[in-house]
Symmetry: C2
């Protein structure tokens, strides 16, 4: 695994100031791709000539001037096929870029190619490997974007999250990741799965980089000043903490201790028992909405869908409309209560995943700790911890209040600064 020497913020400033060019940056990243892509398999569509052509024409302007970006193959792109890792869409070529891809280009980003996703961003996995250990999964579904980030193939990458698709790969690959509040970022040109949860998110090399992308993809986005004072943080294990491996739990608890030692307040937050049903309600809604979103593929191309996607249709078929409505009503009832529980805190902390990246490429492990908060549309962020060289990356999840994405980013900056020594390098 290569550690990038330059983050997106630094790269774009250097391009704008004339200290380097998009073309020079492109060559640096293309070299890495050439060297390691055969092992990693982050890309499903990659064209070095296209990258060089884009770089050669670059005007050296924009918030992301010359910054190489990887795009999950669930976003439409006019310059590359968009295939959703489905044989139904082999060589499928959209006529235009997804909204966020256009915004990235308008900000000067350099699109490096399309990265592997699971089939329709659901469960069926592709060939991508985890740069930290090639025998292990990078997580799913934003597998190629995360693995490519960890391998240094680009400085930023786009992903999406419905259950755990952005933060799980971040946790397994040791990346900063940000999933904004539901509804803030346009989904135009993104293949829908479960619209109650579907959200565009991104990977960066620092909280500062995550913030930079937010400014590009959320027009009008502003981060509030939080006065320099002890942060008020919650630490919430949820009802599924028994899924957390002891060494992961230890790493997270050590991070909490570090924050306390630095003078910040971290309170344990216990959730009322009613919240134990959120995990199942998320899955039920995901199944029902997923089956509706992929109805046209199911009706005409059933034999080309993977077993895990077909299983989703089977579960949806045995779920009644009333059960789905009841699940949604329960989440709607719980949302203001959760909001009240989060109110005293600048951010909530927890595990992103209960384990490090498991061995094997076909199964990527549960997403419970991620989908719990995603069920309520809250902004989520992964801080990549690496307690020691012998240990694989562990993800510290940070959760913000709904639509207070700026506060979450600002709080994460302070948290990352305190944990600096323990952060994935």
């Amino acid at each position: 695994m290569i550690r990038l020497p330059l983050d997106a913020t630094t790269l774009s400033e250097a391009v704008v100031n004339g200290e380097t060019t998009a073309a020079i940056i492109a060559e640096t990243f293309l070299e890495r791709i050439q060297a390691q892509e055969p092992d990693i398999q982050a890309f499903v569509s990659f064209d070095a000539r296209q990258v060089r052509a884009d770089a050669a024409q670059h005007n050296s302007r924009g918030l992301l001037a010359g910054v190489p970006v990887g795009i999950k193959d669930i976003f439409d792109t006019a310059a590359y096929p968009t295939q959703f890792f489905s044989p139904i869409y082999t060589d499928h070529q959209p006529s235009r870029d997804a909204h966020v891809v256009t915004l990235l280009r308008q900000a000067g980003a350099l699109i490096m190619g399309k990265t592997h996703t699971t089939e329709f961003a659901y469960m069926h996995t592709g060939p991508t490997r985890n740069p930290h250990d090639l025998t292990r999964t990078p997580g799913s579904s934003s597998a190629g974007s995360a693995a490519g980030m960890a391998a240094g193939f680009f400085a930023l990458a786009l992903g999406t999250q419905t259950a755990g698709s952005l933060l799980k790969p971040a946790s397994y690959c040791g990346l900063f990741a940000f999933k904004p509040s539901l509804g803030l970022v346009s989904l135009e040109g993104v293949k829908p799965l479960a619209p109650s949860f579907d959200t565009v998110g991104w990977y960066g090399q620092s909280v500062r980089d995550l913030h930079l992308v937010a400014r590009v993809l959320i027009p009008g986005f502003a981060v509030p000043d939080i006065e320099r004072r002890p942060l008020q943080l919650g630490f919430c294990r949820t009802s599924r903490w028994d899924q957390v491996d002891p060494d992961v739990a230890l790493a997270l608890e050590q991070a909490v201790d570090q924050l306390r030692s630095a003078g910040h307040h971290v309170s344990e937050v216990r959730l009322p028992d009613e919240f134990a049903g959120v995990f199942d309600d998320h899955q039920l809604i995901n199944d029902c909405e997923g089956a509706r979103s992929l109805a046209k593929e199911f009706q005409q191309h059933r034999t080309q869908l993977s077993p895990s996607t077909l299983a989703m249709f089977e579960r949806a078929a045995t779920t009644t409309w009333q059960q789905e409505s009841a699940a949604k009503a329960r989440l709607a009832d719980l949302a203001p209560r959760l909001s009240e529980l989060c109110q005293p805190f600048d951010a909530m902390l927890g595990a992103s995943c209960g384990m490090v990246a498991p061995v094997g490429l076909e199964s990527t492990g549960p997403s419970d700790f991620i989908k719990f908060w995603g069920a309520f549309g809250l902004p989520q962020l992964n801080i990549p911890l690496r307690p020691g060289q012998a240990m694989l990356p562990v993800g510290l999840q940070m959760i913000g209040r709904f639509r207070e994405d700026g506060r979450l980013l600002r709080t994460a900056e302070y948290v990352a600064a305190v944990l600096q020594g323990a952060i994935q390098e």
Copy 2:
């Protein structure tokens, strides 16, 4: 204006039973289009050869076998350009159909062409005229779909609604229209405006036809049996009833009287004062989300946007993040209270619009009575009244409980049966 002899349900049954063919139906509708389209201007893209080719290849199967459908030019289509009534997208040709267009085709529908929309389904109007009076607007933004329905150019049509875009044209053109609960129908391939409200909806010639389309576009959709008993209906004027013209108010009150005479219960429902802010909150959210949804067009093609769309950006620019969040929080707080108010009723009744179609093509009148309920994502339906030949159509709005779309359709069937004599022919 031509009254269609056959509705979608009858047409498709006739095709499936071999009593007619898609080709014969196509010719009937093409004749009408040829005769009246120069006056109406419902279509932005129309190709009789394409329609004939599709009809000739038809397999006479499907819930919508051989049924001619108009598609608002805000839905992507592979066989026709998709231009959003914006010069930025002149001749823009998507590579694939929007999800719902695919579902219509898979159900056997015959796509007749793309119908005029306002620019990006916002306010800037096109050339379409109201078939009931060519000096008047058909309403916006689903103008071409509604006018084409009223002129008999197709048997069904797709529209979308963010504020009043589906029900206003239905009210002005005398059409049955159905806007499902937020989130039930896939928006894949539909240009977003304000995702908190954006919903696909459709026009039909009867409640039965509206229901037929729901079965196609909402996989798994089922309508509950409601035992034959007096309906429990609410009649809700909202705080803006002073906008209702006296003759429109009279037509609606007469409809209520007819329902009561038929033995149904209609209670006046008064909303608490807090609901008076919903209209402004809807507009504020619409502005802010619209500005984000169209950010890429604004950044690169500002000079090609209409004054009304630019005004939206101006309002958004002077609205703070906190104001938008506060508006959303107020709606979220009111939603369960409104739900409680609606709970005793099979459906709520009200005005769709306070006036009949106004004279002129540039301004289409307010959407307050429609967006009030749409702000909460509730299912909405228009029953077209025509109290007398001298009077233009008036829209009776019916509103259902959230995600109880089946109950609303069933209730509307009974209501339409009672009002039969007063319904637009």
